[in-house]
Symmetry: C2
Subunit: 371 residues, 2 copies
């Protein structure tokens, strides 16, 4: 059952029902343009990751601004994005099992679709399904470049690439080289060093491919924490950053080359919480807890009222120190989530606002698209 | 957009698509019966909290077994439970603002409905809306009994109770006295002491009410960690435990009177994850991360294969040490969530299984019912 949106277009922000996911569209558009400008200036393509926003409306906005397509993490996410009008999708993940592979190959009939592989049997299954469906799929071999998650070791990647190139029904398109662990290294120089090591791993595979007559393939990867290094490396052709459009509290803790926080991208995503109760202690209780906010990367920061602090979350409640503000039941507290991706996934609707008024209501198209 | 269920009735568990929320119905039914037996033996009513399961099917199952009704945390949750056939609901939370209070008073036309208050203005607004709608609402005054969240201080509760009793359109029904903080105190004696202190707070209010000619009201509260103490106190009339039906990894760390883990309730809730990738390190990567599992109360435990351990979660991935099991892509890993309530809220469907086969598919009726 779908729940109704917490606001209507034209409402002042003060009347939005809480808790609600609210986007400052001015900052969102500025972030989208800033990343596209950087990619254009470096001569690399931008394929933003849609796992951050899960919104077909935002994906189409990114593509209208120059993005070549989007990334998804799950086949269900890709299906919903395709239904929402996105026609070029790379699934930056392994798709395993006959049921999901069948869906993947059927979706490839309708949109340009790529998928990552790191296993010979999985590659063979995908190729067989693609031949059966008659739709060509782009195959990216995922290389382990320092993240310690999926991917084949660089020295073994060449063999899998050759297997992909030899399979009928699929097109060997390139390498997936993403180091997620590097994204949250605070120090600029250390973050750059982690991507330099990832680049070395990519070089090993590219040399192998060159020898095998498979040169000139696409290398795709990078995230909001590290994209400047991949973009400047001369190795990556495509950036997959996602969180830059929202900038959660965690990413904002990354430091730039001067040792000060990066300010290229602004916070555009907020959870609007409402005060439920004023406690005898002077603290207030708001209506946004673990079911409205992800806390895996730390508690949310308070964007307003100034001086207030979010102290703790239980399932449906948050305890806030008002910091001098005279908060009463029904008043709003504006929170910057610690981690935007799993926070967005908790909500059905995005409330888009400009100058204090609601201008857009978007569904979170792929909310809960977990398989 | 609703996603299709990850299985069909009759499927063997091995073929369930992952990640999926799976319930062992035998254990679920045993847990439901065990808690009802305890409540019956102690002569107290059971009103299980539906914030744990968010499922109208499970709520009706609990009521068929003797529960007097259910608890909800949000007005949207209560609406969806009512639509799902539940006719007696206590909202154990403050409902704030004209829009939500309007919904509350309208819902009271269709089901027996109670709500908690801890503020005079909020009480007056609710009573006005109830008079307007013509439906009587039960009012429970929430008393702060040691949790440090919502509720009025015991010495101030009497005045609010008298105000509730004086309002037309609502019925002053009793006291909400819940100490959520006590639920997760590991030591049995300390947990009992925290509830004994909560009982002292309740006594203060009851004495005040007796004097005001408002004796004989209902006292409701208690959770899975502490219900035995409230049930045995002679003060509480109604238990609100919710998590006992599932038993997450966190609640299973509570100790009984002998200093050993409590075993009255078994783990009935699992997240079935699928292996995506076998890493060069020997670890495997599964398809259940932060968007399929809540990690606020610790990482999930592995129920099978034996000896495996879940080491870390990112948005869509989990890293698992297989502990000797030969796991290949597509194999299943059965996880016991660290915290069941926010985990259930991430899923659209519950797969009910018995003897290794899917027997029921239930929607998570109030999934995402956050406002």
């Amino acid at each position: 059952m779908s729940l109704p949106p917490p606001a209507r277009v034209g409402d002042p922000l003060e009347s939005v029902d809480t808790p609600a996911l609210v986007i400052d569209l001015e900052v969102l558009d500025r972030n989208i343009a800033a990343m596209q400008d950087i990619a254009d200036a470096r001569g690399v393509a931008l394929r933003p990751h849609a796992k951050s926003h899960k919104s077909a409306d935002i994906a189409r906005r990114q593509m209208a601004c120059g993005a070549v397509g989007i990334c998804c993490q799950k086949i269900s996410e890709a299906e919903l994005m395709a239904t929402g009008g996105v026609d070029d999708i790379l699934v930056t993940n392994q798709i395993v099992g006959a049921r999901k592979i069948g869906r993947l190959s059927r979706l490839a009939r309708h949109v340009r679709l790529g998928v990552c592989v790191d296993d010979t049997d999985n590659l063979a299954e995908i190729a067989a399904a693609a031949r059966h469906s008659g739709a060509e799929l782009d195959i990216y071999v995922e290389v382990e470049v320092g993240m310690g998650r999926c991917g084949v070791a660089p020295e073994k990647a060449g063999a899998l690439c050759r297997a992909a190139a030899a399979e009928e029904g699929v097109r060997f398109a390139g390498l997936q080289a993403y180091n997620g662990r590097a994204q949250h290294i605070r120090d600029h120089r250390e973050r750059g060093a982690a991507i330099a090591r990832a680049g070395e791993a990519v070089r090993v595979v590219l040399a192998d491919l060159e020898q095998a007559g498979l040169g000139g393939v696409r290398v795709t990867g990078a995230g909001t924490g590290s994209f400047e290094f991949e973009a400047g490396s001369g190795l990556w052709h495509e950036l997959q950053a996602g969180s830059y459009i929202f900038m959660d509290a965690d990413y904002a803790r990354n430091l730039g080359p001067e040792g000060t926080p990066e300010t290229t991208f602004g916070h555009s995503l907020f959870v609007l919480a409402g005060v439920l109760s004023t406690a005898p202690s002077g603290r207030v209780v708001v209506d946004a807890g673990l079911k409205a906010l992800a806390v895996d990367s730390g508690l949310p920061l308070v964007a307003g009222p100034e001086g207030a602090a979010y102290l703790g979350a239980s399932d449906e409640h948050g305890v806030v120190d008002p910091g001098g503000a005279a908060l009463r039941p029904g008043d709003h507290v504006r929170l910057i989530p610690g981690h935007c991706d799993p926070t967005v996934n908790l909500h059905d609707w995005i409330v888009g606002a400009r100058d204090g008024f609601v201008t857009d209501i978007w569904p979170v198209t792929a909310r809960g698209a977990v398989f």
